[in-house]
């Protein structure tokens, strides 16, 4: 499936490899690689602040200075240059250090990263950076993932020689609805400025004043309000740009990072959920160059507060005489099963959701097949796409629903509504959908139903109309897989435990199927995926482990991702490393 396994095709153009001496060792790298990337490939870490592979390299932080040398050239009258023991021309070391982020390698050059010169340089640069930097690490949210903190431990002096007063700059400044700026902490790396102008096309940030008094600020009358503003917080190497949402809520070293994907739209941006003791504190993008590069929209990353909110359903309920009473899972499942068994297959409709995982959709399909139900649909949910990452399809797994349920989203909804009106459908299972909202059912329609089995994560208006309500786990509380708009199969992982008695959708569907038809054999999500892989041809040969953290391309689509397209273009032009 992946490009690596293409059986035959035009052979990749041969890459020119050049010999580079890294810390005394001769290695080969593709021609034109930036020094910093070559060193990274050689597992040599070069401290840096302003350099970011997805952004242009202005080389203004000077932290990545390395000692370089050119191969010796024959002097006038000399025919042979001096060779070293490996047969390469002797390296003439430059007396001045060069930045590794903006220079590229060429044949025969040498790089030293641990020489006295380099160490002196780093120490000097570090001391300059720290002159006006406040010592408020105990307060600063970046502490623990701060480049300045890390490199000052490795390359700093430990004590300050600066006896004058530090320059006072604006602190605690709201430069956008979601961003708080602390200018004293800024080290002028300009990553945020480059991001806003190069990636987000909203160049509102810039430097004013000069020298020590340089401050990062927004253009007058503008604020950093675009939907990608929080990415500046991620790329800020220090604690200058902070997320107003995450600010002061938890130290980063306490956070457990769970690799998962965003379920806000069909893009399926890769992200990490930072949680501690079952509370989600933040969501940050995770680099995946086939989906979201290194970015994520603000909307997606802030849409987690409902997980720990009061609105969550925490217990199954049964409606008796118009009042919902808390029930055990067992009782609720039994009641749902009785209602389903009592109804004719033609009287039952299942409204599934494009927010469900492949495993849940598969179990839904199995339940529908077991019951003989043909009225099966999902609710299409569209919104506005932007020219970056946000997709018009707001259901994260529409592709999975098409593939597994074999339906055209929304095609049956009207029929189902009509049949409810005519009394032909009496029983509806609504899975993770509020029928009164996007699905467009009316309260009178729901009132005509004999049984409405409602499974959702949040309490809402159609839960009130339901006869049985099941609490489900959110995206952050369950495992599973989804297929994004470009046909990529990706994994969801559970960062926190489900609240109350809520259960993963697949567990609920398995138990409901068990209660209705008595078939089982599924004990874990792995079992479900295995069964799914056996039943749906597209998944043949896959298991959860094979999918990996970055997912696998599963379906062929013609979709392109605007951000990635532009990134490719810039990479081809050599502006960025990518």
């Amino acid at each position: 499936m992946s490009t690596a396994t293409q059986p035959s095709g035009p052979a990749a153009p041969p890459v020119d490899l050049v010999n580079v001496q890294v810390n005394g060792q001769w290695l080969k790298f593709p021609k034109g690689t930036r020094m910093i990337e070559a060193l990274r490939q050689a597992s040599v870490e070069v401290p840096h602040y302003c350099y970011h592979p997805k952004l242009s390299s202005p080389g203004n932080c000077r932290m990545c200075l390395v000692e370089t040398g050119m191969p010796a050239r024959p002097a006038p009258g000399q025919t042979e240059v001096e060779k070293d023991e490996h047969g390469f021309a002797k390296i003439m070391w430059s007396p001045r250090a060069a930045i590794a982020c903006a220079n590229t390698i060429s044949e025969g050059i040498g790089i030293r990263t641990e020489s006295t010169l380099v160490q002196e340089c780093r120490k000097g640069v570090m001391e300059f950076l720290l002159i006006n930097h406040p010592l408020d690490c105990p307060i600063c949210d970046q502490a623990g993932e701060c480049g300045l903190q890390e490199f000052s431990v490795e390359h700093g002096r430990g004590t300050s020689r600066f006896e004058e007063n530090k320059v006072k700059k604006p602190k605690h400044k709201q430069i956008g609805p979601r961003i708080t700026l602390d200018d004293e902490r800024c080290i002028m790396c300009s990553r945020c400025i480059r991001f806003t102008s190069e990636i987000a096309d909203d160049p509102v940030l810039g430097f004013t004043e000069r020298g020590s008094y340089t401050v990062l600020t927004t253009h007058p009358d503008k604020e950093l309000a675009n939907n990608y503003s929080l990415n500046t917080v991620d790329i800020c190497p220090v604690g200058a740009l902070t997320s107003s949402d995450f600010r002061f809520s938890m130290r980063v070293w306490f956070l457990k990072d769970t690799k998962t994907v965003c379920t806000g739209c069909a893009r399926g941006c890769n992200m990490e959920i930072g949680s501690r003791s079952n509370v989600i504190h933040r969501q940050t993008p995770r680099e995946n160059n086939a989906v979201n590069s290194a970015w994520m929209c603000d909307q997606g990353r802030l849409d987690f507060h409902f997980v720990n909110s009061e609105a969550r359903l925490t217990q199954p309920t049964l409606r008796e005489n118009g009042i919902h009473r808390a029930a055990t899972w067992q009782d609720a499942l039994a009641k749902a099963a009785t209602a389903l068994q009592a109804a004719q297959p033609s009287q039952i409709a299942i409204i599934a959701s494009g927010r469900m995982t492949n495993e849940e959709l598969f179990l839904t399909k199995r339940l529908a097949d077991n019951l003989g139900v043909t009225h099966l649909d999902i609710v299409p949910r569209t919104g506005e796409a932007d020219n970056y990452l946000v997709h018009a399809d707001k259901n994260p797994n529409t592709a999975g629903a098409r593939l597994i349920l074999g339906i055209d989203p929304g095609s049956q909804l009207q029929t189902i509504k009509d049949k409810i009106e005519r009394g032909e459908i009496t029983t509806v299972i609504a899975l993770q959908e509020n029928l009164l909202k996007k699905a467009g059912f009316s309260e009178t329609q729901l009132g005509k139903l004999q049984t409405l089995i409602h499974a959702h994560v949040l309490a809402n208006s159609s839960a009130a109309a339901a006869s049985v309500v099941f609490p489900l786990a959110t995206y952050a509380e369950k495992r599973g897989t989804m297929i994004n708009a470009t046909g990529r199969l990706q994994r969801l992982n559970n960062a926190v435990e489900p609240v109350g008695e809520a259960r993963s959708g697949w567990e609920f569907l398995r138990d409901l199927t068990l209660a209705v038809t008595g078939q089982n054999g599924l004990y874990s999500i792995e079992d479900v995926f295995k069964t799914l892989a056996a039943a749906v041809p597209a998944f043949t040969g896959l298991n959860l482990g094979k999918i990996g953290d970055l997912g696998l391309p599963l379906l062929e689509t013609t979709e392109t991702i605007p951000v990635l397209e532009r990134e490719k273009d810039r990479k081809a032009k050599g502006i960025i490393v990518g």
């Binding site: 690490c137 600010r247 002061f248 938890m250 130290r251 306490f254």
Partner: protein, 176 residues
């Protein structure tokens, strides 16, 4: 290789155990008599007699929070003590200091700071790690309560115990 312990060769008298028995009885009787004479007393009758006056400077009692001379809470909720605490006795909920507050400039403070004194092992790591000199171990050692909830020292109680501490303490200086 098995090693055989060499047993001492005992004389006939020694084998009757009597000399050692009598020797042992002499020792214990000696202790008994010395104690009755009031010479062997080493026990301190706790609630009446206390060590308080002779507690060393470095004594590690209950951890407390202190304010500085302007009554500003020194703690900025950096949560390093929570991190270092071996029995995980400390729970901190940080918050932003509201703009109206006198010390709004400090930006951050603990909204809740709880030390579970049932868990606390009085190791003093919190004091050692604190970058703001906000947490100190006092000489209070009789921390008691009748309920578990009572044994959880909240922020108010911690400041009550800790009081005001002026100036900085050179606590990392080994030559102190």
């Amino acid at each position: 290789m098995a090693y055989t312990v060499p047993r001492p060769k005992l004389s006939l008298l020694e084998r009757t155990y009597f000399p050692t028995l009598i020797g042992g009885l002499k020792i214990t009787l000696g202790h008994f008599i010395r104690f009755v004479q009031g010479k062997g007393k080493v026990t301190m009758s706790y609630p009446e007699e206390k060590w308080d006056a002779s507690l060393p400077e470095h004594y590690r009692g209950a951890p407390t929070l202190v304010t500085d001379e302007h009554e500003r809470e020194r703690c900025v909720a950096c949560q390093l003590c929570e991190f270092i605490c071996p029995p995980r006795a400390i729970t901190i909920v940080p918050e932003q200091i509201p703009a109206a507050d006198k010390f709004a400039k400090v930006e951050k403070r603990p909204k809740a700071f709880e030390i579970d004194m049932i868990r606390c092992i009085y190791c003093g790591m919190c004091e050692e790690v604190c970058p703001e000199q906000a947490i100190f171990l006092r000489k209070d050692y009789a921390i008691t309560g009748t309920t578990r909830a009572e044994m959880v020292h909240d922020k108010t109680r911690l400041y009550e115990l800790g009081g005001i501490r002026e100036g900085l303490v050179n606590k990392w200086n080994p030559l102190k």
